[in-house]
Amino acid sequence: MAYAEYFLTSIISRAPHFCPMNINGKAKKENQFDAIVIGSGISGGWAIKELTEKGLKVLLLERGRMIKHGDYPMSNLDKWEVPNRGKLSSEDLKDYKIQSKPGYNMDQFTKDFWVKDTEHPYNQIKPFDWIRGYQMGGRSLVWGRQTYRLSDLDFEANAKEGITIDWPIRYKDLAPWYDHVESYIGVSGQKEGLAQVPDGVFQKPMELNCIEKHVKERIAKNYSDRLLTIGRVAHITKEGGHMGRGTCMTRNRCMRGCPLGAYFSSNASTIPAAEKTGNLTIRPFSIAHSIIFDSESQKAVGVNIIDSENKSTLQFYSKIIFLNASTLNSAAILLNSKSSRFPNGMGNDSGQLGHNIMDHHFLIGATGRYDGYKEMYYKGRRPNGIYVPRFRNIDSRTKQKEFLRGYQYQGGGKRESWWRTSEEEKFGAKFKDRLIEPGDWTMSLHGFGECLPYHDNKMSLNYNKPDEWGLPTLDLDVEWKDNEKAMRKDMEQQAIEMLESSGLKDVQRFEFPCVPGLGIHEMGTARMGNDPKHSVLNKWNQIHAVKNVFLTDGSCMTSSACQNPSLSYMALTARAVDHAVKELNKRNL
C-alpha cells in the first residue's frame, strides 16, 4: 500500500522514483535528524538558527550551490574590470529574459545570484514574472532589505472588511518576535510613533539628503495625515558593527554579496550562527520532491529529495519539518506530496493550497526636479531610500471610497548624473564640463500597494511539462483586480501632489508595466487561519492536519499588507520554532 502511494507522484516515466522507505529502525542513522529545514533563504536561515540553538540536530536542504559568507568574487570589482562595463549583453540576457525584468537586480556583478530562465521554466497562464535566486542564502543575498512591521490594521483587515478569512494572530502575538529578530539582524530606522507601522528596535537611522529633507519639511507643513521619513533597512549602522558583522560603509554594492556582512543575509548571519552550534548539517544541490507522510502515525516523517547534480533520489527523516522553500515552491512541494489521506496534496483539506497568491504592485508614482541646493551634494551611496508610511484607510477620517487597504511610498532624491541629456549644448567642451558636475536635484515617490487575497489567483502543478528533474512545472494564474487598479490611481495622484506642493518643478507621473511577481513579494499559497476548512496552517504555522510540518515563508500570509514582508517571515519563523520545540518537549509532536 505504501509503495503504491509513492508512485502516485510518478505519473510519467521520467518522474523520479523513490523506494518505499521503512521507518522502523532500518532508516540509515546518517539520514535521521531532529528537524529538516527545506530552503536556506531569509526564513529558512532563521529556522536553522533557532532550531540548532535550541539543541536540535538539523538538516538544511538547499536546492542550489553552496555560498559561504565572504565568497563574493564580484563585490570589490569596478565597472572597467568586468565585461561590458557591468552591463548585460544581449547574449547574456538570453538566459535571463524574465529574471532581468526588475532591472535594478541584474548586471554582470549580480547575475549569478539569479536563476537562468532557460533552466527553470514555468507556465504563465496569465503574465507573472517569477524572480528567483537558487543558491545558499536564496534571495536573502539580493533582497532590498526594507524592513517594516505589520500592525493590527493589517491583521484585522480581512475580518473587518469581510474578505476571505481572519488572520489567526494579532500584533501582540508577533511583537516580541519582531523585537527578537530586529535586535539580532540589526535594523536602521527612525521611530515615528505610528500605529499602522509600529516602531521597531532600531539602530541609528541613515541620513536624508538635501532634497529629501526639503520635501519632508514641506509635507509636514502641507499635510496633517502623512509624513516622510528614512527607510527602515536591515543594514548595520551601529559603530563598531553588530553580532560580529561590520558597519555599513554605503558602498551600495549589496546585491553582489557584502564582505562586511553589513546587510542582513542568511549567509552573513543565521547560517554561521547555526553552524557554530555544531548541530547543523548542510546539503546543497538538494531539490525537495515531496514530504513523506506515514499513514499509520498520520505524521510527516521525512523528505524525498532529488540531487540536482546527478538526479539521484534520496530520503531524509526527521521529527519535524520546516518548509521554507519560498511561497510557490513550498506549495508545490505540498501539492506534490499526495497520499490516500491527502489526494490533493499534503494539508490541502481546505482546497486553499496554491490559492490566494498575492504580491505588491508598484512601478507607479511621480518625479520632479528642484531648482536649489546647487552647492550641496552627498557622501556615500546610501543603500536605502525614503519611506512614506501608509496614510490611506487608517481610520474613519482617511477612509477611501474607491479602494480598500493602502500603500506606502519608497523612492528618494539625488542629483542627476551623466545620464542626463536635457542640456542646451548637445556636445562639445561646455557639454562635457557640465556633465562632469552634478546635475539638478531630483526626487521620486514610488508607490507600493497592497493586494487583496483572491481565491482565483492561484498556481497548479503541470505534470505534462516536467522540468529537467522530472518535477512538474508551475502554472501561474494571477492578475491584479479592481481594488489594486483603483488604488494605483491614488498612488499616482498623491505622489504628484506631494511633489508639487513641495515646490518641485517638472513634476511628471511615471508608470511602468507592473506584472504580478515583479514585486518579488509573492505570498499566500498556504495561508494561516483558525478554521482548517478554510486555511492550510494554524496560528503556529503548523499544517492543521499534519502538525509536525511548519511553513513560515511567504506562503503563510493571510493578507499582504503593503509593508515589505521579509521581516514578518523571520519573526513568524522564530515564533514557530519556539512553539515547535516546546511541543516536541511536551511530546505533542
Partner: protein, 185 residues
C-alpha cells in the same frame, strides 16, 4: 583575424546602402594584417579614426580629460566586437555610415577628409536633427560615447569622485567636501 570576426564584418557591410564610390572605399578594407597590427577588434583603421574624431568632438579634452584620454575609441571597438549582437553591430555600422553620409551630403567629402570646423558643423546639424529622439544615430552614438567615457577607469578615478568605501552616508554637505560628482559603482 579569425573567420568568425570576418563573417561578422562582412554581414555588417551587407547591411549598408551603398551610395557612391567614397562610401564603398570607406567600407572596403577588411585587411587582416592592418587590423592585427593595430590591435583592433572589429573596426577597421578608417572606422577607428572616424569614431575617434566623433568622440573627441562630443567630449573634447578641456581642463579635464577628453574621450581619447579615456580610451573611448578602443573601448567602443572592444564592446562592438565582444558584447554587441550581430544586429546591434549592424546598427552601429549604420550609425557610422550616417555621419559619413551627412558629411558627403554637405561637403562632398567623408568626415575624415573635412576640416574640424566643418566636422563641428556636421555634428551641429546632426544634433539638431536628432532633437529629443533617442533612436537617432546622433543620440545613439553620443550615448555610447558618454557611457564609455564615464565608466572608464580614468574618468571614474581621476575626474569624478571615486569613493569605493565611503563610510556612513552624509546626506547634505558642500560639493567641495565631497570633491565632485560620484562615479558610478
Amino acid at each position: 583575424m579569425d573567420r568568425r570576426k570576418l563573417l561578422k564584418i562582412t554581414s555588417a557591410s551587407l547591411g549598408f546602402a551603398l551610395s557612391g564610390g567614397a562610401l564603398t572605399a570607406f567600407m572596403s578594407t577588411c585587411n587582416s594584417d592592418t587590423i592585427k597590427k593595430n590591435n583592433n577588434n572589429i573596426l577597421t583603421i578608417d572606422q577607428l579614426d572616424l569614431v575617434r574624431s566623433l568622440s573627441e568632438i562630443i567630449l573634447p579634452a578641456t581642463d579635464s580629460p577628453g574621450a581619447e584620454d579615456a580610451k573611448v575609441t578602443a573601448y567602443i571597438d572592444l564592446a562592438v566586437a565582444e558584447y554587441f549582437s550581430v544586429s546591434e553591430q549592424n546598427d552601429f555600422f549604420k550609425i557610422l555610415e550616417y555621419f559619413n553620409g551627412q558629411s558627403l551630403k554637405l561637403f562632398d567629402l567623408t568626415f575624415q577628409k573635412i576640416s574640424v570646423e566643418k566636422q563641428n558643423k556636421v555634428m551641429h546639424i546632426a544634433a539638431k536633427e536628432a532633437a529629443e529622439n533617442k533612436k537617432h544615430p546622433f543620440s545613439q552614438f553620443r550615448a555610447l560615447v558618454i557611457s564609455a567615457y564615464f565608466t572608464s577607469e580614468l574618468v571614474s578615478t581621476k575626474v569624478l569622485n571615486y569613493d569605493p568605501v565611503p563610510g556612513p552616508y552624509q546626506g547634505c554637505l558642500p560639493i567641495e567636501d565631497v570633491g565632485n560628482m560620484n562615479s558610478a559603482i
